[in-house]
């Protein structure tokens, strides 16, 4: 039986960490972590975790298709992700039916992405990069785009924060009070599409749930105050990215794997602590959230 080295220690990990591509990875990861912190809270509150996951997959044919027609991969990815977001947002509220429709589209989109990839005349790593992210190859151009997207996201959220919160938490009452619930739905989904586009380039479609959704869920478990939950969620994403990159350099592991593992571990610890304190009768952290019939999912 051959032994396999699961983990190898890299002596020169500090040199690796301080090299330029690592700097870009850290910067890119930081920007995406902050964006994820901002939007992730609303993804949980609006019960849109599945839609967020689906959007990542819907971006895949955009990315592999972009290779075919020669436009930048992130542009194709973005067009499909945001386009898919707008469609889902416009579909409205009845999500019980929509889950099946979303899942079906997700599966088709992934298959379509695979097909486009097979058409490429030269083999490219685009599909692997989109599925698992390409954190160590973030370019300066990508950094600039990320920074602009983060600023736009922060400005948008700052503008619509309270009406969006109202529409997400009490949509009927918000509508009666003049909040444009449908429009906000579409705006939210467009913003989500932008964040997904960024996050795919960092950790990929298959793993971005753990960067965008899981830290937000952890934040909400820890505190019911919206802005604090968003801050906690951003911190967890940041720590996951930084520690993830450090450990991946130290131990020669794929970075998105480590980033995601850390985020999941943090969630697990908080989740177990919440259940333990819940059983003990305490209210240190909130009870785990469930989607039930009384709690309609809406985008």
């Amino acid at each position: 039986m051959r032994t396999v080295d699961l983990v190898t220690y890299q002596d020169n990990w500090w040199e690796i960490l301080t090299s330029e591509f690592m700097r870009n990875a850290l910067l890119g990861g930081t920007i995406v972590a902050l964006a994820a912190g901002l939007i992730g809270y609303f993804v949980i509150v609006r019960n849109s975790a599945f839609a967020a996951h689906a959007l990542a997959h819907i971006g895949l044919p955009g990315a592999t298709g972009a290779v075919l027609i020669g436009i930048p991969v992130s542009l194709g990815l973005g067009i499909f992700a945001v386009g898919g977001a707008l469609v889902i947002g416009a579909l409205g509220k009845k999500a019980a039916d929509r889950e099946v429709a979303t899942g079906t589209v997700l599966a088709f989109a992934t298959g379509l992405g695979l097909y486009f990839n097979s058409l490429a005349t030269k083999s490219s790593s685009t599909m692997t990069n989109v599925l698992f992210g390409n954190l160590l190859a973030i370019t300066n151009e990508q950094l600039v785009v990320f920074a602009v997207m983060l600023l736009a996201l922060a400005a948008a959220v700052g503008l619509i924060y309270r009406p969006l919160l109202f529409a997400s938490v009490d949509s009927e009452v918000a509508e009666a009070r003049g909040v444009p619930v449908r429009t906000l739905s579409v705006v939210f989904m467009a913003l989500l599409g932008l964040v997904i586009t960024m996050a795919v380039q960092v950790v990929g479609t298959l793993l971005l749930f753990a960067l965008v959704v899981t830290p937000a869920a952890t934040g909400i478990q820890l505190t019911p105050r919206p802005r604090r939950a968003m801050a906690v969620s951003a911190v967890i994403s940041l720590v996951s990215v930084w520690a993830g990159l450090a450990f991946s350099a130290m131990l020669n592991l794929p970075p998105s794997f480590v980033v995601v593992t850390i985020a999941c571990l943090v969630w697990l610890v908080v989740w177990l602590a919440a259940r333990a304190s819940h059983r003990a009768g305490g209210a240190i952290v909130g009870a785990p959230a469930r989607a039930t019939e009384e709690h309609p999912v809406h985008v």
Partner: protein
């Protein structure tokens, strides 16, 4: 501090109003006035269009004919841009994100939820939230997550959210439907207090009049596709109620002077 409004004796004016939902005429010939400061029920059998009437009043559903005036203006247009003069408590208040928000923050949204761009919450606004919570006796659990509250407690939070902006009219959709008897009693007493102490006009969609009888002044009833209004004495009438609910109703008057309805 409410800005001075031209005094209107009627909180709600319906003038030959009809409503269409999904291509179907739900009710028509609605002509009545509901005075300010009254407590009025909206009753009718299932599917008669009670919730539609609520939505017409809130400006969420257009009428297909006739004129509606709510607090002196058209439905959906408030004196300020925020529709702050009407509070709404929807049916089965279960905040969809109940786990992620505290009762206090849910009530605060009733005050700030329609304000764009970021602005600090003022001391005055926080005090308004405290007063609303106190008015519904929710101060004790104001910092708990909404998902951790009982049905009766959530209903009170919903009412606090509706009254925090000091509305002149509060509209409730079946507030008692999923509550046990004790909670029903408490909510009805609360509505009575809000009406007496704050002078709020109250409209309640209800499928059961009995719990509300002690605070009601009158009712809008949807009968045979038409909307009518009558004071309480006119509504608590065996013939009318039997016709309305499609089953024989008996009005029982106790020696203590109370009354209730039951089907026989």
């Amino acid at each position: 501090m409410s800005t001075p409004e031209p005094a209107t004796p009627a909180a709600l004016v319906f003038d030959d109003v009809s409503a269409v939902r999904g291509g179907r005429l739900v009710w028509s010939e609605g002509t009545f006035e509901i005075p300010e400061g009254s407590v009025t029920a909206i009753i009718g059998s299932n599917g008669s269009g009670k919730t539609t009437m609520l939505k017409v009043i809130l400006g969420l559903v257009p009428t297909s004919s006739g004129r509606v005036e709510v607090l002196g203006h058209a439905p959906g247009e408030g004196p300020s841009s925020g529709r702050d003069d009407i509070g709404y408590v929807p049916q089965d208040y279960t905040s969809t994100a109940g786990d992620a928000i505290r009762a206090r923050d849910a009530v605060l949204l009733g005050l700030t939820g329609n304000r764009w761009a970021f602005s600090r919450i003022t001391r005055e606004q926080r005090d308004q939230v405290e007063r609303a919570l106190a008015a519904v006796d929710a101060t004790g659990f104001a910092n708990r997550r909404v998902s951790q509250l009982s049905g009766g407690q959530r209903q009170r939070v919903a009412i606090a959210q509706a009254i925090v902006s000091r509305p002149r009219l509060v509209v409730l959709d079946e507030p008692l439907a999923s509550l046990d008897l004790r909670n029903q009693r408490e909510i009805v007493d609360l509505l009575g207090r809000l009406n007496k102490d704050l002078g709020v006009t109250i409209l309640v969609v209800a499928h059961d009049l009995n719990p509300l009888l002690s605070v009601l002044d009158g009712a809008v009833y949807l009968l045979d596709g038409h909307a009518h209004h009558a004071p309480l004495s006119g509504v608590v009438d065996e013939e009318l109620l039997s016709h309305l609910y499609g089953t024989r109703i008996e009005v029982v008057r106790t020696p203590q002077g109370e009354m209730f309805m039951r089907s026989v």
